[in-house]
């Protein structure tokens, strides 16, 4: 058991008009763990992820990632610190090939204007190194045969795989997955679970939001339960299954 926290969310709140989507919620994610986040629809899970990644500004509270406060940072600034998230709706770049999708993620010298225009020799070497890495990852995720296909032509499950592979190109230290299994069928679910476990073994921290409790069981040591914007409980699944308030929230 590791005890140092990589992500601390302290007492955040966020309201949309009259809807209190997140209501004084706190989370602590241990470095190197796979932590689950479950709760009924509308519990505020996605809003919580948005607050963590900077896509939504919370009205109260603070977020600390890797020892530094990230409250109020723009999403791209949070991402550059190594926290990459995926979205509940798959968010591939449909009119770009899988390889192009992959190569958008890493920071490259060739995205600087001057380098792009006048110093191809400088960015080209890096480009080919990253291309190699991208192909490698596509093989691992079983997408290599489709490398030059437009991402918009993939099936729902393949898009989820691509999204995670693309996130890995950015060399994250933590991945936050918002319902990664939504729209994914049986075989691919197993494959995604295996990938997440493997990546975790190599040191990546995960926060996984998921409806499918069986998947949560296979992945997570500890799980947060949210309902109506608040964190109800935290612990291993087998304990949560005995917890009165958790059962009640799910029965609502």
């Amino acid at each position: 058991m590791t005890s140092d926290a990589i992500l601390e969310v302290e007492d955040v709140s966020c309201a949309f008009g009259g809807v209190q989507a997140v209501d004084h919620a706190s989370l602590t994610i241990d470095r190197g763990s796979i932590t689950g986040l479950i709760g009924p629809n509308g519990a505020g899970k996605s809003t919580m992820v948005n607050i963590i990644s900077g896509h939504t500004k919370g009205q109260e509270g603070r977020v600390v990632f890797a020892g530094q406060e990230t409250t109020g940072l723009a999403p791209y600034q949070v991402a550059r610190r190594g926290l990459i998230r995926t979205f509940q709706l798959s968010s591939e770049f449909p009119n770009m090939t899988l390889l192009e999708n992959m190569l958008v993620a890493p920071r490259q010298v060739g995205t600087k204007f001057w380098n792009a225009m006048f110093r191809k020799s400088v960015w080209n070497r890096e480009e080919y190194a990253l291309l190699e890495k991208a192909r490698h990852l596509l093989v691992e995720f079983g997408l290599y045969k489709l490398a030059d296909e437009y991402a918009g032509n993939l099936s729902g499950g393949q898009k989820r795989l691509l999204e995670i592979a693309r996130a890995l190109m950015a060399d994250p230290t933590m991945l936050v997955l918002d319902e990664p299994m939504a729209g994914v069928s049986g075989v691919l679910i197993d494959r995604l679970v295996d990938h997440i476990l493997e990546l975790n073994r190599s040191g990546l921290t995960f926060l996984v939001i998921e409806h499918d409790l069986e998947v949560i069981d296979r992945l997570c040591e500890n799980v947060y339960v949210m309902a109506q914007g608040s964190v109800l409980a935290y612990g291993p699944m087998y304990e949560l299954r005995q917890n009165e308030s958790v059962l009640e929230a799910y029965l609502d």
């Binding site: 896509h55 723009a74 225009m117 191809k120 075989v187």
Partner: protein, 348 residues
């Protein structure tokens, strides 16, 4: 006839620079930034006042400022003015506005500027415009045909430079990033990309390119005013881009040729049209409109669609040799993968 072909060539180069500017913003980045016509005018007015010389006392035309700078300074200053204009418009509009709103605000800025110019004749000649713009390099020859050739060469070289610029932009990691911003702005932010910076960059570059087009246009025609500086110019440029293929510079060149040269310059050759310019004008607009709708409906990616990313050695890739070099789990062999893909092919 030769003279006519040369004139057509010059217009092709000038128009292509403008359509490439539109393509960088609308085609590559999907920004509904209609300001390229604004920057066309900024470039034209800038090239004018930096070449025309001080306002003569007894002249009919009035302007607030004028100097006679030698070639190529008026063109360079025009590009800089266009880039500054692009920066300002970008800062004002891009920070919060997208889609329709961006289109409307850029149109509004264009209308405000042309209304200002029209309303203050002392500023930039008002609705009469400015004439007597000094042509670049005109001291080199006194013959009309000779100068036509010089201008053809000048506009051709500048157009080629802009084309190469756009090719490098689009086919670089920067261009890929720009495309991704177009495809999904929210997803791009979670990969550490600041979409605002990319958009602003495209607006500044596009502003400079459109201004160059305007500067050449004013210097070729030797006159400029609010009449040619109209938002209607948006349509042929957009039609050229969509017919040719947005996001593809070669497509844009083809589209420019089709719309501006074949339709724009070819129509007067039709029987009945040469004696009735109004008719030609009407037919031209009908063709632009119909072609635009038809392409958006049947072939939205244009004649030459955007290219997929390609890399030189896309070779036999042997994953097994690489797995040890990485901290990632061992890769399945390609054979395994092919079998597996077969098993998955039904899963939609």
């Amino acid at each position: 006839m030769t003279s006519f072909l040369i004139t057509m060539g010059i217009y092709f180069f000038i128009d292509l620079i403008l359509v490439l500017s539109a393509n960088l913003q609308l085609g590559l980045m999907g920004m509904a930034n209609l300001g390229f016509v604004l920057f066309l005018g900024i470039g034209a007015y800038a090239a004018t006042i930096f070449s025309i010389g001080p306002e003569p006392a007894n002249s009919l035309q009035q302007y607030f400022f004028g100097v006679a700078l030698p070639f190529p300074l008026p063109i360079i200053l025009a590009i800089i003015c266009g880039m500054i204009g692009g920066l300002l418009v970008g800062l004002v509009s891009l920070y919060r506005m997208r889609g329709h709103y961006l289109a409307i605000i850029t149109l509004a800025i264009l209308t405000i500027c042309s209304t200002l110019v029209e309303g203050y004749p002392r500023f930039l000649g008002g609705s009469n415009g400015l004439t007597g713009i000094v042509q670049p390099l005109s001291s080199l020859t006194s013959s009309y045909n000779g100068y036509q050739l010089i201008f053809l060469g000048l506009s051709g070289v500048l157009c080629l430079a802009v084309f190469i610029f756009c090719q490098r932009f689009i086919h670089s990691p920067l261009g890929r990033m720009a495309k991704a911003v177009r495809e999904n702005e929210t997803a791009v932010t979670t990969l550490g990309i600041n979409p605002f910076r990319v958009r602003l960059l495209a607006t500044v570059c596009g502003g400079g390119m459109a201004a160059l087009s305007g500067a050449l246009l004013a210097e070729y025609v030797t006159a400029w005013g609010i009449a040619p500086w109209s938002f209607t110019e948006i349509f042929p440029a957009t039609a050229a881009m969509i017919i040719g293929g947005r996001g593809n510079n070669w497509g844009v060149a083809l589209g420019t040729f089709m719309t501006y040269v074949v339709v724009g310059q070819g129509l007067p050759f039709l029987p009945g049209v040469s004696s009735n310019p109004e008719l030609g004008y009407a037919i031209q607009w009908i063709i632009y409109g119909v072609a635009l709708v038809a392409f958006l409906w049947f072939r939205p990616s244009g004649l030459l669609p955007e290219q997929k990313g390609r890399w030189k050695h896309a070779p036999e890739f042997v994953p097994a040799t690489m797995s040890s070099a990485s901290d990632l789990p061992a890769a399945p062999s390609v054979a395994e993968q092919v079998a597996e893909e077969g098993a998955h092919s039904h899963d939609q």
